[in-house]
Each structure stands twice: as C-alpha cells, then as structure tokens.
Symmetry: none
Subunit: 156 residues, 2 copies
C-alpha cells in the first residue's frame, strides 16, 4: 500500500516503546525516510507522523508565507522547532518522547490514525471524541457543498 490507511491501537511497554502498525511500517519503508518524523498537530492534542512525504508537505506549507515574516516565524517555530525524529528499533517500535506524550496526553496506549500521506498519534479516548466531532463536521460539510463531496461516490 502506498498510503497510511485505517486506525490501530497499540500498547506502550514498561520502557515506553510502542509498535508502529505493520501496514504503516510498510508505507514508511517505501517512503525511504530514516526514522519517524513527528510534529505536533496544530489544532489538536495529537501528533502528525510520517516520512519524506510529510516533511515535504510541511515545507510547502511554510513556503506559502513570506520568509522572515512574523507568521513564517511562528509557523516554523511550531512546525520545525517542535518536531522530532524518532528512531525505529528492529522490531518496528518507537519510544515516544516525554514532550509528545505530554502534548497528546498519552499514558499506556496510543491510537494510530492513517491519513494518507501521514498518520496521527492520539491518546485513544481523545481520538474517539475527535473522530465523532470530525464525522459530524464532514456530514455538515457535505450538506453545504452538496454533490462535490460524496464519500460514497454518488454517481448512481
């Protein structure tokens, strides 16, 4: 598979390690990035994670702003300054940093959420709440935008 798809929940062990879902590892291997690039999600208490495609995406987002502008500074401080590159052990596990665990409120379990070119890392309960919120927002979005957005396709 080319993209991060689906949702998985795994447990942290006593050393704070957690397995990256096998299907996500396969995508990362294709991507070629060494390690796991992690960047706090801007609007939620979660973490964006991925490889080269995520890094590229972040760069191009930054490029939309004038260099040395205040906005650019703020963004790069957050997107780059708060980012980390986690090492992946031979079994495909990572050790989440204290900063990440604190930001996301993670204790002993984490949820991995595929989002195509990247995935997110959540504390499971918080994710469920966010998912429900997202779902209702999408329904609303569909009502507003109409036919352009048919999850179920729609050309019948």
């Amino acid at each position: 598979m080319e993209e991060f798809v689906s949702t998985f929940t795994n447990r942290l062990d006593s050393k704070g390690r957690v397995s990256i879902p096998a299907s996500f590892r396969a995508v990362l291997a294709r991507d070629g990035f060494e390690g796991l690039y992690c960047c706090p999600t801007l609007d939620q208490n979660a973490v964006d994670a991925g490889g080269n495609r995520l890094v590229t995406q972040i760069r191009s987002s930054l490029a939309l702003f004038e260099p040395f502008s205040e906005d650019h500074e703020f963004l790069s401080t957050t997107l780059i300054g708060e980012s980390e590159v986690l090492k992946v052990d031979p079994e495909g596990r990572v050790a989440l940093s204290e900063a990440i665990k604190a930001h996301a409120g993670i204790r002993d379990t984490v949820t991995f959420v595929g989002q195509g070119y990247k995935f997110q890392i959540w504390e499971p309960d918080r994710f469920v709440a966010y998912r429900d919120e997202a779902k209702s927002r999408v329904r609303e979005l569909r009502r507003r935008l109409g036919s352009g957005l048919r999850a179920s396709g729609g050309t019948e």
Copy 2:
C-alpha cells in the same frame, strides 16, 4: 464484467470470514487493487467496498481541500482513518473487522450490493429496509417527474 452488479447474500463462518461474490471478484481482479478497500458510509450503517476506482473517488474528494486545513483533516480522519484494506484469501474471502461489523450491525450474514464502480456491504435485514425505503422514494420521484423516468422500467 466491468462493474459491480446485482445483490448477493453470504454467510460468515466461525472465523468471521465471508466469500466475496464471484462476479465481484472478477471485477476486482480487473481493477487490479490488492485486497478490498472498505470505507464506512457516512449516512447509512453500511460499508462501501471496492478497489482502485473507489480509492480514486475518495482521493479526489479530499483533493478539493487544502492540506493542513481543518476541513481536510476532518475528511481524512473520517474517510481514510475509518477505512480498512482487507486481505482477500486464496478462496476469495475476507475477514470483516470488528469495527466494520459493529458499524453495519453484521452478525452471521452479509449482503453485497453492486453499485457500479463500488459495492456495499450490509446486514441483510437492514438492507431490505433500506431498499424498500429507496424504492418508495423512487416511486414518489416518478410521480413528481412524470414520464421522464419510464424508460428504466420499474417493475421487477
């Protein structure tokens, strides 16, 4: 055959596996996608399933939104995060995940409903109810629109 057509109902075995209807397998084989892409439908308790054509459809919906925008995040969380890629065994069966079974209310039988470039997976009773509802809506539509909808013939 190029498209998913007709309706089939099969049973789940003790391992939770169910055969994909043979004619659907033929369409999937042509499509070339490895596995079965499944995405819960937003408005019904059912699942959209298919291959590359379905994936393309979903992706193009997402592409309408700016990456990192809030709407894009909501959409990818809902559409991609809730999707799964099921493996198809050598006999043409898939094991439905707990998440899918819960969403669709599936217990020991499932109904496959062809919808052209994709098909849907339903709990049989719920599908019958949905189909009847849809049918009466069509009748009503025909009354309102008059002769325009005759050609497709309607009595089965």
